[in-house]
Each structure stands twice: as structure tokens, then as C-alpha cells.
Symmetry: C2
Subunit: 325 residues, 2 copies
């Protein structure tokens, strides 16, 4: 595989433009295509908006920048690219046709990655002559700041493609989450979708407003989720015994009516996966050590939010009678 | 109502001890009860652990501290308290009995708040002679750092109790989320539970490990949730048209199979609640202004995580070939 010098980006909405910014700031050239009127101007504007944040994130001395070009011919893009990142509208039929066209023109060693947030890669690759190089590379908005990318293989995707994709996205400053198998919505969007649906049920039941639901996250669980997922959070909730103790106290038969999402049927295998998974994540640190670390990070995040006058920071700057702040 | 000088805390596990620390650091005396062996020593140890983080959060010059005492007699606690915060084990029968006993002894103007994470306050107050002062005051772990408290009225809770509870918790540095009506699990835990159940389904389907699921949150959505909930996030995803445009593009009939939680039946009323809610939250700021703010906060949070070598910060400190960091 030759180094990726030019990335072709198909579709330059919020996600495609975010990819362009991420690659350009790392010195990679970008050639972009989007059939919409005024797309090039809109793309250049979005990249310009992203630029100061990326420089601040990476360090002010950062100067390397790739060259951005635009084409009205998707075949020209496919010929010129060492990597293709599709970010077209989320319609499966459109993506399947697009992948067929890109696959016909691109060099066989060029990986074609879809930014789809849910379609199965086996479907996207099914009309390609070189399906082994087709993969999902699903990012999160804003793509130029958030580091996660989920990579998902279809039935015909090669292991070599998964390896190369991992190295490439890591070189673009990303954290690669490599799925073992394909599933609709992959991982993060399934979790987000579950939370979103429950939030919609609360709106429908008129229990709370959108602002109240947002606050319920931003002033509590969200502060932890910025650096710990749900499992490590519950590992800490288990005290020194961690997840093992948490599950001992926990009765999987007790299906509390707290959401309409059914609880999965429990098994010893489930328990083992949770306990072993969390112990691996804890990486030899005790729960008290993790608590101390969690507290350090939470305080620093809350100070950031205080500086920006947002969320949990507004509570701090409001101060209280007794602290005299 | 006289000022709250002494809070009685019933049950001194992780949550009760967290409450004690939050009140003590603000100069409020605490009298605690817990029947477990060694409970007093464990409580003092937990408060000592919390102390440095709270001082750092509130400012190092913070010196005011309440007095902590412990009693083996819950009636003595009820007599001595200006506010009672129950944090006993999560068993409804036990809480109902405890509320009856506390209510018999406490002055009628003393609010008795339950830290329950899901029971209905109408059930907890049903055997009390003064049910109007019974309320849910549900905090989040670590209680001494995370500012959210959900307050929930039962059928018989008075408006005055809700008002006084709001003022009291705000004086203890909290963000009060006042529920209009009671619902099992209240708000935040329903959202967390939906996400948790979906995570368990992913474990059961063997799609990902606990660590991978945690990473999928901590490297993406969790960074946003630290200061924005799901609604404001999607408002920004809608571009300049915000939630209105987001919903225009969105087909509520298209029930993508991304979680087993059923999608709520859609209505114009739902759309209005979402659009009006988000426009109120945006508070006159355009989507671009919110994006700029979001980027500022995200970059600062990621720098905090880099300093602590955790989550999204590890990607930054790893650097990339092209940035030369």
C-alpha cells in the first residue's frame, strides 16, 4: 500500500466537511465532490470554521496543511484518490450505486470507506468488483474534533483492509473501534438511539421538556461519560468489589419498569463477560484508585465548564451562600 | 421555615456518605445513622476521601466545615435534624417503614427526602402523618461533585415543600431538576437505563466487549454529553435550521432496527415540543454560535483528558506522524 496523500471525499455536508478538515490539518490533500449548488463554497466555509479549533487542539505551532480541491466529476475524484471516504446522504440505494461507480474507477488498492451511521457493509459492497476494500468508517460530529471512528467489515472485506484502515485512521488522530461483525447501527449509535428513544417517550408522556432532559444528562451522567462509559461507571458503583459485587447485589429477574426497552435474558456468560471486561478495563487499579482519578478529572472538567459558563459550570459560578464564592 | 443547620442522613453507603461530604463542606452539620458494623468509621473515611476534590472544586481558600456526628438511634437523628436525607438500601418496603418512623419523630416542618433512584414518592409518603413534607431528592454519584438532584413530588407533597427543597439544594451547590409528576426511575435514570440495557444486548450478542462499548461513548457522544444533552446535540446536527430542519429530514415512520426499544408513535405535538424546546434552549444563539461554543468546550475538555492520560486525551498525547506532536 502506498501512503495516503490524497483523500477523496464524496458528499460535503456536515460529516464530509468534518472529514476534510481533519485530513487537511494533518497535511493530507483532499479532493471533494458534492452535486449540491454552492457545495464548494459551503465546504470551504466549514473548513475555515473548523480550523481554529483544530489548531488549538493540536497546538498553535501546528502549520502543516493539505491542499483542498473540488471536482464536479466523481470519477475524477475516484481516479485521483489514495483513500475514498463516502459521506453521501443516508440512503442505502444511493450508497450501493455510488460504491459500484467508485469501485469501477478507483485503483484496486484504494480503500473505499462509508461514513454511514448504520447500514451493513455487506450491502454496500455487494455490487463491487473489489468488495474486499469496502469498509464502514463511521465518525462522529464534529468529525474534526471527536476522535472515535467505528470500522466495520462486510462479509467480503479483507483482514488486510481492516488493518490498513486502523493504521490510516490512527495516523489521522483517531481512536479506532474495530467491530468483530456487522450489526445495524454499529455500537455507539445503537446506544445513542436507545437513549434518544427513551428521551422521546419522556417528551411524549409530558414528563419533562427537551431542556430538562438535556440538563438531566449534562449535570450528571454526561460528566462521567466524557471519560468513562457505563460499565466502568458501574464497576466503581460496586465499591472495592467492582462489577463482581455490583452484579451480586443486582437481581436480573427484577425487571424495573424504567424504560420500555426489554431487559436481555440473563446468563452466567453475561456475568462473566461483564466482570472480566471491567477487570481488564480497570487494568490493575483498585476501585479507590479509579475513584481518585475520576474525581480529579471531574473537577477539571467542571472548571472548564465554569470558564465557559455552561452546564455544570454555571452551578459553580453561581456559588452558594455558605462558601462565599 | 428555620434555616437548615443540621441534616440527618439515614444510611451511609456511597450515596449517604456523598451527601454528608457535600453538606459538611458547606458548613452544614450532619448527623448520620447506619446500622451496619463499622459504618461510622467507613463514613469518616469516605468523607476524608471526598474532601480534597471538593476543596479543589470550590477553591482552596474554602475552610468552612460542618460537624459530623453519628448515632445508633434513628429517632435521635430525626429529632436533631432540620432536614432528613434518606439513603437506605433500595427496597421499597424498608423505605416505607423508615419514612413512617422518621415522620413520627421529626418536627412537622422538617422535609424528609429520599435518595431513591426510582420509587414513587406517593408510595413512600403513604404511611406518614405529614406526607406533605415527603419528597424525592435523587442525586448522582459522586454526590459531592455532580450537581444534579431530581426532586419529585408525590400525590400529597405540597408545593411549599417543592419550593423549599429547590432553595435548599441550590444552597448546597446543586442544579435542581423539578419533575412535574412522578414516574418510575424519574428522568436521568430512565435514560441511563435505556443505554445500559442496549449495552447489555450488545454484550449478549457478542458484538463488543465492555471496554469497547465504554470507549464508543467516551471517545464520541460522551464528550458532548458532558455539557449538551441529546436534544441540543441534534439541534446542532440540523444545521442553521436546527431541530426544525432536523425533523424535516427525519422520517418518524422509518423505524430503523437500531435498538429493541420501540420508537414512540409520532405526532405534530411531539414535533412542536422538540422544536420549541430546542429553540428555547438555544436562547437566541444561532447554530453557528452554538457550534463555536461547543468547539471551545470540547477542545478544553480534551486537553483536560490529555493531562490526565484518559479517554480522548490518550489520542492527543499519542500524536500523529504528520503533526509532529
Amino acid at each position: 500500500m502506498s501512503a495516503v496523500r490524497t483523500v477523496g471525499i464524496v458528499g460535503t455536508g456536515v460529516i464530509g466537511a468534518g472529514w476534510a478538515a481533519r485530513f487537511l490539518v494533518r497535511g493530507i490533500d483532499v479532493i471533494a465532490f458534492d452535486p449540491a449548488d454552492g457545495a464548494e463554497e459551503a465546504l470551504r466555509k466549514k473548513v475555515a470554521t473548523a480550523w481554529p479549533s483544530m489548531l488549538r487542539l493540536l497546538g498553535e505551532d501546528h502549520v502543516e496543511a493539505g491542499k483542498l480541491s473540488f471536482t464536479s466529476d466523481v470519477r475524477e475524484l475516484a481516479q485521483a484518490s489514495d483513500w475514498i471516504q463516502e459521506a453521501a446522504p443516508e440512503r442505502e440505494d444511493l450508497k450501493i450505486r455510488l460504491f459500484k461507480e467508485l469501485d469501477e474507477v478507483a485503483r484496486p488498492d484504494v480503500i473505499i470507506a462509508s461514513s454511514s451511521s448504520g447500514y451493513l457493509p455487506s450491502r454496500l459492497q455487494m455490487e463491487c468488483r473489489h468488495p474486499g476494500r469496502v469498509i464502514i468508517g463511521h465518525p462522529f460530529n464534529p468529525v474534526y474534533l471527536l476522535p472515535l471512528v467505528e470500522i466495520v467489515p462486510g462479509d467480503k472485506t479483507t483482514d488486510e483492509t481492516m488493518e490498513r484502515a486502523t493504521r490510516f485512521y490512527e495516523s489521522a488522530g483517531m481512536h479506532v473501534l474495530r467491530l468483530k461483525k456487522e450489526i445495524d447501527g454499529y455500537i455507539c449509535d445503537r446506544l445513542q438511539e436507545a437513549l434518544w428513544r427513551e428521551a422521546l417517550h419522556l417528551i411524549k408522556k409530558d414528563v419533562a421538556t427537551t431542556g430538562e432532559i438535556d440538563d438531566s444528562i449534562a449535570y450528571s451522567a454526561g460528566l462521567r461519560w466524557a471519560f468513562m462509559g457505563p460499565f466502568l461507571t458501574f464497576h466503581l458503583a460496586g465499591g472495592e468489589g467492582g462489577m463482581r459485587h455490583f452484579l451480586d447485589q443486582f437481581d436480573p429477574e427484577m425487571d424495573l419498569p424504567w424504560t420500555d426497552l426489554p431487559f436481555p435474558e440473563w446468563s452466567d456468560e453475561m456475568s462473566s463477560r461483564l466482570i472480566e471486561g471491567c477487570e481488564k478495563q480497570a487494568a490493575g487499579r483498585s476501585v479507590s484508585e479509579w475513584e481518585a482519578k475520576r474525581n480529579e478529572v471531574l473537577v477539571d472538567i467542571m472548571h472548564v465548564l465554569e470558564k465557559h459558563g455552561i452546564g455544570a459550570g454555571t452551578v459553580l459560578s453561581r456559588g452558594t451562600a455558605v462558601t462565599g464564592r
